[in-house]
Symmetry: C3
Subunit: 225 residues, 3 copies
């Protein structure tokens, strides 16, 4: 049991580190930031999803603020990315793997956390998915990009699959270490297959341009000419 908790913590901190690294590299690439900005975006990417989940389930202060190691590891990843970003680019392929691993881990732990807070299975799936994709989404909003999760590749869908398997197992009382590993592996596999074959979720059919521009409650002018 103690071994399980230690393993869980180690995996959680590993996920936090890799998400932090990913957030810092993405942020440095997109905008002209100083070290404060890089470390801040590393922390936001690493811990944002879990913080949103904890706020929504009312578990306050969030786990990220109850155990100092999360903030330290997330911030440390930002510093590491800042001082050695050219090194990280060489291991970029590994980062893709680790990022998928972080997504896989967080979607499972996010779901179990929500379920333990007495949310229903359906809501736990949503919150597990938010835990996985939330940090990167907040990062993208801050650096003024349309969040990746909304527009490209399979990112939310693998997380939702892992979260769904976890929630079904919890609701039917057969959740255990084996299911956790299986759910994480499911998320990880779909994510890697999506990347390998460049799969995308369906997009809307082309919008007839003549009818554009008059949605209620919408600004009527377009941003860019």
């Amino acid at each position: 049991m103690s071994t399980g908790a230690t393993l869980q913590l180690a995996l959680d901190l590993a996920g936090t580190f890799v998400f932090g690294l990913n957030g810092a590299l993405t942020a440095m690439e997109a905008e002209n930031l100083d070290i404060v900005g890089v470390v801040t975006l590393a922390v936001i990417t690493a811990l944002g999803g879990g913080i949103i989940r904890d706020v929504l389930i009312g578990s306050l202060p969030p786990a990220a603020f109850r155990d100092w190691r999360y903030l330290a590891v997330g911030g440390g990843a930002g510093v590491a990315a800042f001082v050695a970003h050219q090194l990280w680019l060489r291991v970029q392929r590994s980062i893709t793997l680790f990022d998928a691993a972080g997504l896989a881990l967080f979607c499972v732990t996010g779901t179990t956390t929500a379920f333990a807070a007495h949310l229903g299975p359906f809501q736990s799936v949503i919150l597990g998915t938010i835990t996985g994709v939330g940090g990167g989404t907040v990062r993208d909003v801050v650096i003024r990009r349309v969040p990746t999760v909304l527009s490209s590749g399979l990112y939310a869908i693998p997380a939702a699959c892992g979260a769904t398997l976890t929630a079904v197992a919890l609701a039917l009382h057969f959740y255990g270490d084996a299911v956790a590993v299986l759910a994480a592996a499911l998320c990880f596999s779909i994510r890697m297959i999506g990347l390998r074959f460049n799969l995308n979720a369906p997009t809307p059919r082309p919008w007839p341009s003549a009818t554009r521009g008059a949605r209620p409650g919408a600004a009527t002018e377009r941003e860019e000419p």
Copy 2:
């Protein structure tokens, strides 16, 4: 009493559906999103205002996560908009009506919810208004538009009027079904009159361009050349 609660739920879910539809159509128009993005933005638009209110009054998990129907209806609106967006364009005028109806409903229910959580009348008006306009504001930030509510037409003002009438009635102990209907009708009317006659809130006088650019704590470079 039971009839009243059923009516309230029906109106609430109707408001959620129409706000979700509106959010999905606005999002599809503004950015190149896949189905995950469209459904996510439908849910954010439909439920975002109420979630922000519930977080601020400490009623956690938010109502949107306590009753699965809200997430289902909001997401369903996103799917409906995705598969049949050309159909919705034809009924666009109805959507404007429904959007104003959703605004009217949410500003009243948001105010009563905040007041029931022991916030003062003034704060309840703010939270009722946030319930009405919050979801669309988060949607606009995510798709990188200046939130409509900050810059064009009458959108927050009708919601604030409906919320004020509700809060005054609550504070003076004469709130009831008739007042709720009246407050919603007030918000709805101001919104529709504003749209019909293209009314706008006052804007600042022109800014002397020579003095621009040195606000404390502000980036000194301009974004676009």
Copy 3:
């Protein structure tokens, strides 16, 4: 004791007013807003940092919603900026001073609030810094600017220094009025020295452009041509 509490409230409301003024002027400069937008951004800038802190420590409703004076003063600053923005431009140098004073005050009071809610010293420093810089950051995201705190000058660093001194004093049980003044003066001095000599936090070394664009979980296309 009563005098101390009155002084604290007066300083708090003064900080709220100046932050609100600053937020409104920055917002009017950056975007074409109406009075609703200007007042909303004044309130967000003035109260956003404290609201984020209160949500994260679970102190709900936030202080800004428990005492109506905060909302009134923040909104009043927005109205004042709206009607007399040309006047404020003339006292711009004073606004820089007041903004630094607000930052100094909020980083100290934010840290003590978090510590009183039983967060550790390290987390209290983070939350104190968030209290100081959070409002301006949310404002910048809403008006689509990369948050100043991430990219230019010394803004988070002075706040973190003031918060660190406060938290160390709290943890070692020698916190008192003298330490509070000293910590605020430390933040204020570093901020003003940074402005005077145009100091910046370190930025990353130039990014090799050939390797750009393939961060995992990142959109592959660039936004602007």
